[in-house]
């Protein structure tokens, strides 16, 4: 995973804006799936509780097809399946951790343990999608952050880790 230091996407996104795409209901600290196919299904099912998404199966279909374009495994144990769909009214992220790791056809051949599934609307009038994707890629490039995300068990810990990584402290 190599990040172009000149990337500007998401550079001005603050921690609270970033965290607004996540939710406790879309936080999975112990993914059960052991294959790429099943982990995509497990992550997509977390979207079913969302008022804006009535049919996560449609989004899963889109995410699977995006994978046929090339694996969204970045290496270093991170995968960011993502895509835009008519079936998403707003941008949402599901975060999941696999303790065992999943063979995700990542470029370095390492199993993936950290998963960020991003779904975004067909149209992106607020230009959220690429900045969000870029910010996640930038953050997970840091080994200490990856280790903290792996160790976290609760959504509150996840939020605190992100705030710390983005230079903000609770109550600051």
């Amino acid at each position: 995973m190599q990040v172009d230091p000149g990337l500007w996407w998401g550079a001005d996104m603050d921690a609270e804006s970033f965290l607004s795409y996540f939710d406790d209901k879309r936080f999975i600290p112990d993914l059960r799936s052991r294959t790429k196919e099943s982990v995509l299904g497990e992550l997509s099912r977390a979207l079913a509780d969302d008022d804006e998404i009535r049919n996560p199966a449609v989004l899963l279909e889109m995410i699977r097809r995006r994978e046929s374009l090339g694996s969204t495994g970045l290496g270093k144990g991170v995968a960011i399946p993502h895509g835009r769909s008519t079936a998403a009214a707003d941008t949402r992220v599901v975060f999941g951790v696999s303790r065992r790791g999943v063979d995700y056809a990542a470029p370095d051949g390492e199993p993936c343990r950290l998963f960020f599934l991003i779904v975004a609307p067909y149209e992106d009038p607020r230009h959220e999608y690429l900045p969000l994707l870029g910010k996640i890629v930038e953050l997970v490039n840091e080994k200490p952050l990856r280790e903290k995300l792996l160790a976290g068990q609760t959504f509150a810990e996840f939020q605190a880790t992100i705030r710390e990584a983005m230079g903000e402290r609770p109550g600051a």
Binding site: M1, M62, L69, G70, P107, Y122
Partner: protein, 115 residues
Amino acid sequence: MSDRVHDLVALQDLELMIRDAQDPASKEKEEALGFAVHGLEELQKARETVVKKIPPRDLRLYERIRGKYQRVVVPVRSRICLGCFQALPTMATRAVSENGPLPTCENCGRILYWL
């Protein structure tokens, strides 16, 4: 969501993905972030498979609307068409019968998909 609308959503999503993969600027951005973008043929095949599932009448309507708008199938939220942002009449329904007309917006004519 009916299978008929589902297939049109799948077609539209695929066409968006193909367009992004063919667009040098979009492709460059994805690749700069570290994502592989090389399986365009697979997407083209998937599109053909989806097209074969769609009744000719629905496909003709889809193509006709696409001649006017880039986005043919649009979500409905709180009875608002998210294509033209006009309120739908109270009699508008999400129900789609097997052979009946697809739900469309009275104002813009796009095919409606209820969230």
